[in-house]
């Protein structure tokens, strides 16, 4: 079963994504900030990390850097309200960049794409 680590500081949004992704048939682990996300990765290696950027304690970019520094094979999808990080070279390391909308179909599509690419590569 595919495991997704969802890093999101907004509690309600975390709940929303968790419900939706579980509904899609994924196993979902959540973390409210970058620091906890690192801990969760150590506990259990996820297939995909869905990462918010603006978060307290440790932001998404830094957390992503640290996760990828240890495990290159983890895929990261950046899911943020800001479109302007798209041009930042740090976010180039991510597999996808999504601007948050209430319509989650784009996110779901991207997850499938990333997974497909992953299975193809391995």
């Amino acid at each position: 079963m595919t495991t997704i680590l969802l890093v999101e500081d907004d509690e309600n949004q975390r709940l929303l994504y968790e419900q939706e992704l579980m509904h899609e048939g994924y196993e979902v682990v959540t973390a409210p900030n970058g620091k906890e996300a690192l801990e969760k990765v150590q506990e259990k290696l996820p297939d995909i990390v869905i990462m918010d950027i603006n978060m307290p304690k440790m932001d998404g970019i830094e957390a992503m850097g640290r996760i990828l520094g240890k495990n290159k094979e983890i895929s990261v999808i950046i899911n943020t309200a800001y479109s302007n990080y798209k041009d930042s070279f740090m976010s180039w390391a991510a597999d996808a960049y999504i601007v948050k909308t209430s319509d989650l179909s784009e996110l779901k599509e991207k997850i499938k794409e990333v997974l497909a690419k992953k299975s193809k590569d391995s």
């Binding site: 907004d10 949004q13 994504y17 419900q19 509904h23 309200a81």
Partner: protein, 637 residues
């Protein structure tokens, strides 16, 4: 009696005239005239002395009848000579009696005053047409009252030879043998030349004063040429002004003043002659638009001579910094046939405008209508005047440059303030937008998950759909706003603007049809490719065309014009819709300003920002009932 007069008058008269002329030496009389009169007087005097002594000798002897007859003849001869002198003296002479009635007048006076009948017996006021007759101002009255010397009075008159003159009247007392004042001799002299000279000097002084306060270049040029052409200053028929454009290295025709035909010239002269205008009057009455449309002015403005061209009289003049008089243009190698044909005058003068030892232009003046020869003297004064004019032009140009600089600075400042404002609004709106986006995602997302459930009440489903739709709408607005706050990076490629416009129009085609809008495209041939971000420019075209269409809910015409103007492309989008009211017009580029019920107010500010990022500009003109014209300019390089 008559015998006494012949011997008495010439001598007395000559003495008087000489006295007057001597006194007048300090005045502005023609030197030549003075000398001629002096010579004539001497001749007559010596002749008279001779005759007198002969007569005396003869009277001592026993005179035979034959001798007295010869004497009589001689005296007659003498009278004739005297009469001739009176005619050739070059001055008007008139003898008045105590009642100011004319006793005698010479032909010169009759001619000058345009007298058709013999003036003898008439009251002086009838022939001089003066309004001081009988008053204390009348020179004759003053002399009768015993006031010492003469009194001058002058005015302008026209004679049948159509020569305009400025004349001066001098009254002299004439006493009889007993020393009793019996008559007045009125001497009338032509002082046109000196008067013109005085007037010119006055003009120079006035011009200096006025130009100190005139910094408007166009006004100044007009003023200069008006001075040159004004009668009683320089009185040239026409004057043209060329200025050097240093950047392009050419001598450019700027302005011409003067009538376009002989009829017009005569008319102006008649109008002007009735008033003795001071420069101040001329300036106050100067109508700057009056001379704009004359053929002469249009022709002058089209004249461009490269400074490197040394075969043209005007460029030679600018180069040598010396006035050039052309007496016969057809035979003068310095005048090209082209210039001669354009000017249409054989004799003309070119005077360089020199400021700070550098030629800044050339003035060309001629007398094409009156054919009056241009004298060395008038050129000298003209050169003096033109020097002063050049300084004034230089001043005005410097002032204009300063003004332009200040305008530029003000514009830059305004732009800075606006972009500063935009940046502030941008960062604030972007902050607000993101803060709103997060809860919106949650609301919309959960509402959507709800729609997966089945509800017994169909109302619940409808209500959920409404929430989802409304959230979507809000998100769209947020996207617009965040776009605005986003600093854009241009991805410039060489692009054919016409192609982008074409694509945009195709995109809008169905919309045009729906709204009954007729599209008229006019793209100039050979529009060069320019370096722009095609996606962003397309966004701008879409925004502006969309606005245009929205202003025509009942249909209309949409003109889209692309042309190249100097170093930039101009894209005009013109609609025939509801115009933009003036108070709205000044706000349309302010972010979040909108008059549309569902607008976000970012379309135009974003468009302007994009165009400005490309180094261009947007200009809006809106006329009530005529629609709106949006003019976009984009630099070619």
């Amino acid at each position: 009696m008559s015998k006494r007069q012949t011997t008495y008058y010439p001598k007395e008269a000559i003495g008087k005239i000489r006295k007057v002329l001597n006194k007048s030496k300090g005045m502005v009389l023609d030197e030549n005239l003075l000398n001629t009169v002096e010579n004539i007087c001497q001749g007559v005097e010596s002749n008279l002395k001779k005759k007198k002594s002969e007569t005396a000798k003869l009277s001592k002897k026993s005179v035979t009848e034959d001798e007295s007859k010869t004497l009589e003849e001689q005296i007659q001869e003498e009278r004739k000579i005297f009469g001739n002198i009176m005619e050739v003296i070059g001055a008007g002479l008139c003898l008045l009696d105590k009642d100011s009635k004319v006793v005698w007048a010479n032909d010169t006076l009759k001619e000058w005053l345009d007298l058709k009948e013999s003036p003898i017996g008439s009251h002086c006021s009838n022939i001089y047409h003066c309004d001081v007759a009988g008053t204390d101002k009348c020179p004759a009255v003053r002399v009768f009252k015993g006031d010492e010397g003469h009194l001058l009075e002058s005015w302008v008159t026209t004679t049948k030879t159509e020569k305009r003159m400025y004349i001066q009247h001098i009254a002299m007392p004439m006493t009889n043998k007993e020393g009793v004042l019996e008559n007045i001799l009125l001497l009338t002299v032509d002082v046109t030349k000196s008067e013109k000279l005085v007037h010119r000097l006055l003009l120079l002084q006035q011009f200096g004063e006025i130009t100190q306060g005139t910094l408007h270049l166009d006004k100044l040029l007009h003023l200069i040429l008006t001075c040159i052409t004004a009668d009683y200053s320089f009185g040239f028929n026409r004057a043209m002004l060329f200025l050097i454009n240093k950047e392009l290295g050419v001598l450019n025709g700027k302005l011409a003043v003067g009538p376009s035909s002989l009829e017009e010239a005569t008319q102006i002269r008649t109008e002007m002659s009735s008033k003795h205008n001071s420069l101040k009057d001329i300036i106050d009455r100067l109508d700057y638009s009056h001379n704009i449309d004359t053929p002469l002015n249009t022709m002058t403005k089209l004249m461009v001579h490269p400074l490197s061209d040394t075969s043209e009289v005007v460029t030679i003049c600018a180069k040598e910094k010396k006035p050039i008089i052309v007496k016969d243009a057809a035979k003068d190698s310095r005048v090209t046939s082209e210039f001669r044909k354009a000017l249409g005058a054989d004799e003309f003068v070119c005077v360089p405008l020199i400021a700070k030892n550098e030629a800044i232009g050339v003035i060309v003046a001629d007398n094409v209508y009156t054919g009056e020869p241009i004298s060395e003297d008038s050129i000298n004064t003209l050169a003096m005047f033109v020097n002063q004019a050049a300084l004034a032009i230089e001043n005005a140009e410097t002032y204009k440059r300063l003004e332009d600089k200040i305008d530029q600075l003000t514009e830059t400042q305004e732009r800075l303030i606006r972009s500063e404002k935009l940046a502030a609004i941008g960062s604030m709106s972007s902050y607000v937008a993101h803060e709103i986006r997060n809860p919106l995602v949650t609301i919309g997302g959960f509402a959507k998950t709800l729609s997966r459930f089945t509800f017994t009440d169909s109302k619940i489903k409808t209500n959920i759909d409404i929430i989802v739709e409304e959230v979507k709408r809000l998100e769209k607005i947020l996207n617009n706003i965040t776009d605005f706050g986003k600093p854009s990076t241009l991805e410039k490629v060489d692009t054919q603007i016409c192609k982008i416009m074409e694509d945009t129009c195709i995109l809008m085609e169905s919309y045009f049809q729906e709204k009954h809008i007729k599209l008229h495209k006019r793209f100039e041939a050979n529009i060069p490719k320019i370096s722009v971000d095609p996606a962003q420019i397309k966004q701008v075209f879409l925004n502006i065309i969309m606005n245009a269409v929205e202003s025509m809910p009942d249909g209309g015409d949409l003109d889209v014009i692309i042309k190249s103007v100097y170093k930039s492309l101009e894209i005009d989008i013109i609609d025939t819709g509801k115009s933009i009211p003036q108070r709205v017009l000044q706000n349309i580029f302010d972010p979040f300003f909108t008059t549309k019920p569902s607008g976000t107010g970012v379309g135009l500010p974003v468009s302007l920002k994009i165009i400005e990022d490309h180094g261009g500009n947007i200009d809006v003109k809106s006329k009530h009932g005529k629609g709106t014209r949006m003019s976009l300019t984009l630099p070619i390089k």
